[in-house]
C-alpha cells in the first residue's frame, strides 16, 4: 500500500487529531459502517421462515441479528457525533427508518437480493471476509468508541466468516447443480466487491488520522482468503476487473429502495411508534 506511514496513537496525537478531520466526516464514516450491517441484516431477515432447513433458518437469522446489533451500536454513536456539529443528533430509529435510499451509505454488495441460497452465501462470503479484516484494523482505531465496538463485533464476525466459507465450500464442491449455482453466484456478485477496497477522500483522511481503516491495505489478505476458499470449493476466482461503485455516496442499485420501503413502512406510516 502507498498511503502515509501510520502515525502513532499517542496521547499527543489523540489530542490534536480532531483538527485534521471533522465530526461531519466521522459521522459519514460511521453511517457507512452502520448501513452495511443494517441493510445486510434486513436482507437476512427476509429468509426467516424460508430457510432450506430448520437448522439453517435459525443459524442464518442469528447472523442477521448479530449484524443488527452491530448496526445499532454504530448508529447510536453516529447520533452522538452528529449532536456535536448539528446541535442535536438523531436517534438510532430515526437514522435507520427515516432516511431515504440516497442517504444510505452501505456497500452495493449487501443490498443485492437474496436470490437462491448460493447467491445469499456468495454475498455473505465476500462481505464476511472483508468485514473481519476491517474490524481487526478498527480495533486499533484512535477513536476509543470505534475500537470498542469493533472488538465486540469481531468475535461475532469471525464466526460469520467461518460459516459462510463453509457453505461456499460445501455448495461448490457438492453436486453438479450446486457447483453451477455457486459459481454463477460468485461471478454475478464479483463486480460489487471492488467498492470495498476503494476509499474516498473522507476515508483516506480519517485513515491518516488513525480513526478509520485504509481499506486499500485489506485487498491482498482478502484476495488470499477468497482464492483459498474458492480453490478448495473447486470454483474459479472471477477475473473481471470492471467494478460497480457508488454506495458510499448514496448512489445505489434499484434494489435498495424497494428493500427500504419494506423495512421503513411502519415508522413512516406510524411515526414514533414503539412496541
Amino acid at each position: 500500500m502507498n498511503s502515509a506511514p501510520r502515525k502513532p496513537c499517542t496521547r499527543e496525537f489523540i489530542r490534536t487529531f480532531d483538527k485534521m478531520t471533522t465530526d461531519e466526516q466521522r459521522f459519514d464514516y460511521l453511517l457507512r459502517l452502520a448501513d452495511s450491517d443494517l441493510v445486510l441484516a434486513q436482507r437476512l431477515g427476509e429468509w426467516i421462515g424460508h430457510g432450506p432447513v430448520l437448522e439453517e433458518d435459525i443459524a442464518l437469522t442469528n447472523v442477521g441479528l448479530d449484524l443488527l446489533g452491530q448496526a445499532r451500536l454504530w448508529l447510536a454513536y453516529a447520533g452522538e457525533v452528529e449532536a456535536r456539529f448539528a446541535g442535536a443528533g438523531r436517534s438510532e430509529d430515526a437514522l435507520a427508518f427515516l432516511r431515504d435510499s440516497g442517504e444510505f451509505r452501505n456497500l452495493l454488495l449487501v443490498e443485492q437480493p437474496n436470490g437462491n441460497y448460493a447467491d445469499t452465501m456468495a454475498r455473505q462470503f465476500y462481505f464476511d471476509a472483508w468485514h473481519r479484516l476491517l474490524l481487526v484494523e478498527l480495533t486499533r482505531s484512535c477513536d476509543a468508541r470505534i475500537a470498542e465496538i469493533a472488538a465486540k463485533a469481531l468475535k461475532e464476525v469471525t464466526y460469520h466468516a467461518e460459516r459462510s466459507a463453509d457453505w461456499v465450500i460445501r455448495l461448490g464442491d457438492g453436486t453438479d447443480e450446486s457447483h453451477a449455482k455457486m459459481q454463477a453466484a460468485i461471478d454475478d456478485l464479483w463486480m460489487y466487491t471492488g467498492e470495498m477496497f476503494d476509499p474516498d477522500e473522507t476515508e483516506v483522511a480519517l485513515a491518516e488520522d488513525r480513526i478509520a481503516c485504509d481499506v486499500r491495505a485489506l485487498l491482498p489478505a482478502w484476495r488470499g482468503t477468497i482464492t483459498a476458499i474458492l480453490t478448495e470449493a473447486t470454483l474459479t476466482v472471477p477475473e473481471r476487473e470492471w467494478m460497480q461503485r457508488g454506495g458510499k455516496h448514496g448512489v445505489h442499485t434499484e434494489h435498495l429502495g424497494r428493500m427500504l420501503s419494506t423495512m421503513q413502512w411502519m415508522q413512516r406510516a406510524y411515526p414514533g411508534a414503539q412496541w
Binding site: 432447513v53 437448522e55 435459525i58 443459524a59 442469528n62 464466526y159 467461518e162 460459516r163 463453509d166 460445501r170
Partner: protein, 95 residues
Amino acid sequence: MERSEWPLWEVFIRSQHGLAHKHVGSLHAPDSEMAIKNARDVYTRRNEGVSIWVVRSADITATSPDAKEPLFEPANSKAYRHPTFFPMPDEVKHI
C-alpha cells in the same frame, strides 16, 4: 434429482457448571463440522455451554425397550447398593 435427507446428529452440551456433557437434543446436518455449527446456533443461543459434542444418531447403540425387565428390574431389590447409609463429605464435588 434425488433428494436425500441430511443425517441426524445427537447433540451434547457441557454447561458452565457441569463437568459432563449432557444430551440436549438432535438436529440435521450434512457433516460433523456443520453439525457442531448448527448445534452452536440452535442450542447455545442463551449462553448455555462451554463445549459441544455431536454424534451421528445412527452410531448410537441403545438398549431395547423390550429388555427393560431383565436389564433393570434385578437392581430394584438391592437397596444396599445405594450410597445412602453413610454421610457425604462436603468436599466431594460433582456427584
